[in-house]
Symmetry: C2
Subunit: 358 residues, 2 copies
């Protein structure tokens, strides 16, 4: 059995008993029951995922995977492909948005080269798992082979498993790859059944004429590869990306190791669609960090049955929407652990309808 | 000239030049322009408020004001009035939701007794500015005198000014007072012109029958006091609360000292309506932390022209929705200060339509 099958087989269910205990304590904390809204729901979900009535969110990790895309030859992005490597260097220097936000949130950023088109100098903080020097152009054939797609998924599983061994309590997904909104739109179209027009957005800031061109390219890629949603690995190979495949592996490994995984935006969402395609029970372990300004992301979240925590019109990727949501997830866990109940604090409870304490 | 008039006179405009500088730098940071959505807008607003092209959010303070309400005699809340004092004691012990969330956000909580109905032991962390032992029952006459309302506002100004002197970069408002959603609904009805039914919610968790009763009480209070929205001090005196008046003072002082002020939920929103009624330019200094589950809060935000940062179905108060938003405001400021521009980082910029670098 390969590492992917092994991971999928290892994915369990939410722990209903721990969720019941968390819900019951949440209802007795010194506040009106339910008054912390979605933070309360989140704390109960964390209990079910971590199998702890008092879930713990301390060691927070963003796994940002980078890869290049052959489809950039078709002029789908405003930025040259070389920006992927340049931005990864900025991640390693701690300069990018994801670094600033991770410092603010007290999270670590793990940067993985899954297939950048150029060679990066080996250095502290960079994990190299290069599957190739960018994918092939998906309008001319599959972006990668099935074997490459499998290896990229396995890479994600390996990285997540290694971080888990260091004590990671929560994962956020992040991506970097010029051209990857094109791959994500193609995946989203197939996996959700929506036409390319509905899931294709402005990416880094293209105009409507350029967006129409991008839709044409995606339609050609779909026609060329005829991907089938019942074969998620085939979808990845046909129109995916190395970093998207890697993130699908991260998500599978998160679920298998009972680690809550905060999904960032549109690219991470495409990875989640693949992961859920491979193992539907993965859904229970997902938290939607935000809904992005990319129109396809809303469709992804609806398809996954997820309600985003934030709506800040972000469209950057890197893991920025996930790391911003870490704060809310940590807050939810701490509420449950650090607040006393009415009884413990000696505070009067609700008045029953007959005027006596309820 | 009294302290209120002096504070109102001291409120200036946003610094347009600093906002232009911030916007221009934001557009050149190493990310597609606009891709951090509302965080970018927020960073520009902070620049205008603080008069700094690189705004700083370090010392974060929640000012939570507590007071009791005579109208609780009418059975408008599920909890006995004694809970106000009990919860304030839990704030001082660091046990309540606001304490847990403030620790998570790295913020200080300043607790002010503006009019709790019982005596609290003087202690570290409690600022006592008691205007009275709870307000009077607003269905039988004004909740307080105009002079008491003025003194409560002045108290808020004093507390905010004193925290500013300690280095505070941002204020969040918070409240505690059994019965205060009734006062807030009455204020909101008057200041926004909406009928009581539309601005009255479930508070700590009453059912629909109890909510109808609450609406009747609010209607009686409005009939008894005939408050006039052109006289915000009269509105406060008629149907307000000591803590709501105090928070209006905090908001005025924040604007006068060019400190961004994050408004929590429905009660803080009512205080903001009063502050904006007294000095319309206050609006520019407000940030809506969240939209609460109380239906009237959405109406308040619309009236103030504010778009909330979070929507988590919270309905607790204490400052919980404000402190959760602090993280986003701090993140917005740090993005602007800590990220380099494309030029500074030596990263390729956009490709122009002719294929050359833009």
């Amino acid at each position: 059995m390969g590492i992917i099958e092994e991971t999928v087989t290892g994915i369990g269910r939410l722990d209903i008993e721990k969720m019941r205990l968390a819900r019951s304590r949440q209802d007795r904390l010194i506040k009106p029951a339910g008054s912390l809204g979605r933070l309360e729901e989140l704390s109960v979900l964390l209990a079910g995922i971590q199998r702890k009535a008092a879930p713990v969110i301390k060691d927070k990790v963003i796994i940002t995977m980078a890869g290049d895309h052959g489809v950039t030859a078709e002029g789908v992005s405003l930025y040259p492909a070389v920006v992927t490597a340049q931005m990864v260097r900025s991640f390693l220097k701690g300069q990018a948005a994801i670094n600033v936000l991770a410092r603010t949130a007290g999270a670590r950023v793990v940067v993985v080269d899954t297939g950048i088109a150029s060679e990066l100098t080996p250095q502290q903080g960079l994990i190299s798992h290069k599957i190739g020097y960018g994918t092939r152009n998906m309008v001319k054939g599959p972006a990668m082979s099935r074997e490459e797609a499998s290896r990229a998924i396995a890479t994600g599983i390996e990285v997540a498993t290694s971080e888990k061994a260091k004590g990671m309590d929560i994962i956020g997904t992040g991506d970097m790859g010029i051209g990857n909104t094109t791959a994500a739109a193609a995946i989203t179209a197939i996996m959700t059944g929506h036409p390319p027009d509905e899931v294709t957005g402005r990416g880094t800031g293209i105009d409507e004429v350029q967006r129409r061109h991008k839709i044409t390219i995606i339609s050609r890629a779909l026609a060329c590869n005829s991907p089938d949603r019942r074969d998620p690995l085939g979808v990845l190979a046909g129109v995916g990306g190395f970093e998207i495949a890697g993130l699908a592996g991260v998500i599978l490994a998160a679920a298998a190791s009972r680690t809550p995984v905060v999904i960032d935006g549109f690219i991470s969402g495409a990875a989640a669609l693949i992961a859920v395609g491979l193992a539907p029970e993965v859904k229970n372990f997902l938290i939607a960090g935000h809904v992005s300004a990319e129109p396809g992301h809303k469709i992804t979240l609806q398809h996954l049955g997820l309600k985003p925590l934030l709506d800040l019109e972000l469209r950057l990727g890197e893991g920025t929407g996930a790391v911003l949501a870490f704060f809310l997830v940590e807050a939810a866990a701490r509420i449950l652990s650090e607040m006393p109940t009415f009884e413990e604090a000696g505070i009067s409870e609700k008045i029953a309808s007959d005027g006596s304490p309820a």
